[in-house]
């Protein structure tokens, strides 16, 4: 056996993961998202002016050196409002994505691994949610129940878990048929442990990617709700409500509605790009090179 060992040691370690540089577009997306996260965390600190300071005499003016993106009808600085508005804009989508991922992935994992009645119940639930016209239900429910923020989060979580269930169930189903899962079962590991420790790490790429896509979908849903004046306290500086407030003044200060619109689109696009990249990197991590 000693000869064998010599040979093994001489072998260059092939296990090192090749670090792949993300493509240029993804790098840009990462940079942009870093800025957004900075605004999310430290918005009030880095905003150049007080976002709520009114100047009724000034009113709405187009961009100038004093106000880079101009002001709204109350004379508030648009740039500062956008920066500070990052938090109310994104907190909701993040809660929704986290909630939907936790609930949806657990249910999907359960359905994919256990099969049988568990799968039937979970899959029918997903089918049911898919059959609902999502945003319409949200609008009606929030409208009828009086439009609370938490209510909006809860409803959007419920509507988003269907995706997670479908995607994660599919991935878990593939893994559950592999012999390593059978081997874990013969070791008498609990189902919870098999799902959590054995299957989950192998479908992490799928889970994370659908988390990011959920985030995008929730961002757009929330912005849509905010545009309709739902799910967000009135007067808050969320991008969606700024967009709708600014519509009327599009000829006076176009950036009032254009800037939040561009921000929403850029954030959503960046998240999608990064989602793709994360999937590619993670899913090739354990594969044979």
């Amino acid at each position: 056996m000693s000869a064998t060992f010599e040979l093994y040691d001489a072998k260059a370690s092939p296990g090192l993961r090749r670090r792949r540089r993300p493509p240029a577009l993804t790098t840009g997306a990462l940079g942009f998202l870093a800025l957004v996260v900075l605004c999310l965390v430290a918005g009030p600190l880095i905003a150049p002016q007080d976002p709520d300071k009114q100047n009724l005499l000034l009113g709405a003016v187009p961009p100038s050196s004093a106000h880079w993106l101009g002001t709204d009808q109350l004379g508030r600085d648009v740039l500062s409002r956008l920066i500070v508005g990052t938090r109310p804009t994104l907190i909701g989508p993040i809660c929704v994505a986290v909630g939907a991922t936790l609930i949806g992935s657990s249910l999907g994992l359960l359905a994919g691994y256990r099969g049988g009645p568990a799968e039937a119940v979970v899959s029918r639930l997903a089918d049911l949610i898919f059959a609902l016209p999502g945003l319409l239900v949200a609008v009606v429910v929030i409208g009828v129940l009086g439009g609370g923020y938490l209510l909006a989060v809860a409803i959007l979580i419920f509507l988003s878990i269907a995706w997670q269930i479908r995607v994660v169930r599919g991935a878990a189903l593939v893994q559950a048929r592999l012999p390593y899962v059978d081997a874990a079962r013969t070791l008498d590991l609990s189902d919870l442990r098999i799902m959590g420790r054995h299957i989950l790490p192998n479908i992490l790429a799928v889970v994370l990617t659908s988390f990011l896509l959920d985030l995008v979908a929730a961002l757009i849903s929330f912005s849509g709700l905010a545009f309709l004046g739902l799910g967000i306290p009135a007067g808050s500086a969320a991008w969606g409500s700024m967009l709708s407030d600014g519509q009327a003044l599009i000829t006076t200060n176009a950036s009032l509605s254009l800037a939040p619109a561009v921000l929403i689109v850029l954030t959503a696009a960046s998240m999608t790009l990064i989602g793709d990249w994360v999937y590619e990197v993670l899913s090739s991590a354990h594969e044979q090179t």
Binding site: M1, A3, T4, F5, E6, L7, Y8, D9, A10, K11, A12, S13, P14, G15, L178, P179, Y180, D182, A183, A184, R185, T186, L187, D188, L189, R197, H198, P201, N202, L204, H286, E287, Q288, T289
Partner: protein, 615 residues
């Protein structure tokens, strides 16, 4: 149509038809990794030659570069000429006109090669030359002829879809399609690897007779020296991208002229008798990642000297029609011959007498239901009334071909599925239905039996390191405390300590299988179920794993339930065998008795196919 072809044939017979010179294949990614280094050979019209090598030897890349079908990111250099026409670097149009028409390719997997929604008739039709296809009557006649040539009847299979055919029949259809345009050269890449033994012998026989009848050249790519020796005139042995030896098949078998060839010959466990110790070169087939200074095989060679590491050997003539790349062949030939002739016999250890059985199957049956979109549910009887037992400290072989139900039985025993009727007992426990066991009882049962699966790539969790995998198993061992730790387990299965920190992706197939075995024995089971544990490993690694399993049985006294289709493996590993055919036991008894004097026609047929292949 056949007249011009035969003209070309006679013209080419005078000189080699396929000439490969200094072929190098490199992968552009990963620092210009060399997959094939300086390979040269000739193939005359009507000649059959086999390229033999284990995984990573570059044999498939060599074949693929001839037909210009290299994967993206891989490029070939050197020269390949076919009937005077240069193939390397030829324009795609030129290549297309040669590929299929003059050089045909037969691939390993008859399941993936055929289009599942096309009938057999359509497959053959599609492969016929355009002018034949336009004429309906002629086309129909041609399809009939082509199918008949490979031993299939148009009336029976013409309208069938691939899934309705057996593996052997599919490979025949693929062969008929490959031959539909009367190629001068057929390249067959592992054509029998995915088939059962009897189908293997059939397809090889068919290949042999077809090449003879048509005067067609055959380049056979295989990892199986038995297949190569039985189906070709000349054999070329490749290792780590280089040719180590070439020569006529019979001479190569009688007197190998390279230590690696000798290793391959010895590693092949014989069907005919028990071998005391399965010999093989240590280690795994070297990957071609590192640039080579000396002989590619030096690291695993027991006759290695300083010159082997220092100088890169080239092929030199050693005797009539034979070449070897071994620098020291002159000095070690005698020793090698002695090694080959050394008595490999020995008798199997005496099977223990009347120890109480550890595991008993009583009239176990299992059906599978398949649902279809339209129409009634179908039922397939996987196992019918199977009864047998495994004694304590005994090794029992469960032998059968694909679909014989052997894996279903193992899955029932392991509680991965439930039998429809019958009874399975394990120790003192009734394990027919694992759901009826209390959780404490189930834990005890799980520690009685463990399993090693066939596929070393799927049986380890890709996300866990070896240490995590083994650690988890150790925590579930019988006594809960003490016992082997990860390091002890690794040394038990012959793995170096560093492998503890590796994930499966960084381990070779043989290493992974060792980890899987370590995981199974970590629980100290009394019965180890081995489901084709060496079927997807290279020959030399196969012998190592078989030796390891024997060693574990000797040291730990574990009983084995050995599931395999390979009779030579059964001969080496088991005391008793149970032969399954279509879900039923057709014969059982002491291994030596059943293999030497089979009584059931099916067993006779199996043994005949296996020995035919062995030559």
């Amino acid at each position: 149509m056949s007249a011009p072809l035969s003209d070309v044939g006679t013209e080419c017979r005078l000189r080699p038809q396929l000439v490969v010179r200094g072929l190098r294949v490199t992968a552009a990614r990963e620092r210009q990794r060399e997959l094939v280094r300086e390979v040269s050979f000739d193939l005359s019209a009507g000649e059959t030659m086999a390229i033999v090598g284990e995984s990573g030897s570059g044999k498939s890349m060599t074949a693929r570069s001839i037909v210009g079908l290299l994967p993206s990111g891989v490029s070939a250099h050197g020269s390949v000429t076919f009937a005077g026409e240069s193939l390397l670097g030829a324009r795609p149009r030129v290549l297309r006109s040669i590929r299929g028409a003059r050089i045909a390719l037969l691939l390993q997997d008859p399941f993936a090669v055929l289009n599942p929604v096309q009938t057999v008739r359509e497959h053959i039709l599609e492969s016929l030359p355009t002018q034949v296809r336009r004429n309906r009557a002629l086309a129909r006649e041609q399809v009939e002829d082509r199918l008949q040539e490979v031993g299939l009847s148009y009336d029976r299979v013409g309208a069938s879809y691939p899934f309705q055919l057996s593996g052997g029949m599919r490979q025949r259809v693929a062969l008929a399609a490959a031959l539909a345009r009367d190629p001068e050269l057929l390249i067959a890449d592992e054509p029998t690897t995915a088939l059962d033994v009897s189908a293997q012998a059939d397809v090889l026989g068919l290949l042999r007779s077809l090449t003879q009848r048509r005067g067609m050249a055959l380049l056979l790519i295989t990892h199986d020296l038995r297949v190569a020796l039985s189906a070709s005139d000349r054999v070329l042995v490749m290792y780590a991208g280089t040719i180590l030896e070439r020569g006529p098949a019979p001479a190569l078998m009688r007197a190998p002229r390279h230590p690696y060839t000798l290793g391959l010959l010895l590693a092949e466990p014989p069907v005919s008798h028990f071998v005391e110790r399965l010999r093989s070169a240590p280690g795994d087939a070297t990957s071609t990642a590192e640039p080579l200074a000396g002989c590619a095989f030096a690291a695993r060679c027991r006759w290695r000297a300083s010159e082997c590491v220092a100088t890169r050997p080239s092929l030199r003539a050693v005797g009539e029609g034979r070449e070897s790349a071994c620098l020291r062949i002159g000095r070690i030939a005698g020793e090698m011959q002695a090694e080959l002739a050394a008595p490999s016999g020995g008798s199997p250890p005496i099977a223990p007498g009347n120890a109480p059985p550890i595991c008993r199957f009583e009239a176990v049956s299992k059906r599978y239901r398949t649902r279809e979109l339209f129409g009634r549910a179908r039922e397939a009887q996987a196992v019918r009334e199977v009864s047998f037992e495994v004694g304590a400290d005994e090794s029992v072989g469960l032998v059968g071909e694909t679909g014989s139900g052997k894996t279903t039985l193992a899955r029932c025993l392991l509680g991965l599925t439930r039998p429809d009727s019958g009874r399975i007992t394990l120790g003192a426990h009734d394990v027919t239905d694992y759901r009826r066991l209390s959780s404490g009882e189930r834990t005890r049962v799980r520690q009685l039996v463990q399993v090693v699966f066939q596929d070393p790539y799927g049986s380890l969790n890709p996300a866990l390191t070896t240490r995590a995998t083994l650690g988890e198993a150790i925590r579930h061992r019988r006594d809960g405390t003490g016992g082997a730790d990860v390091e002890q387990l690794l040394s038990l299965v012959g793995l170096p300590a560093w492998s503890a920190t590796r994930r499966p992706v960084a381990l070779s197939g043989g290493e992974r299988q060792r980890v899987a075995i370590a995981r199974a024995v970590a629980v100290a089971p009394q019965l180890l179920v081995c489901d084709e544990p060496v079927a997807s490993l290279d020959v030399s690694v196969q012998a190592q794993i078989l030796e390891l399993l024997r060693d574990i049985r000797r040291r730990l006294g574990t009983s084995l339930l050995f599931i395999t289709h390979d009779l030579s493996v059964v001969r080496q590993m088991t005391d008793r065998i149970v032969v399954l055919h279509r879900g039923q036991v057709v014969e059982s008894g002491a291994t030596a008795r059943v293999l030497d004097a089979p009584t059931h026609p099916y067993t006779v047929q199996l043994i005949h196919a296996a020995t035919q292949l062995a030559g």
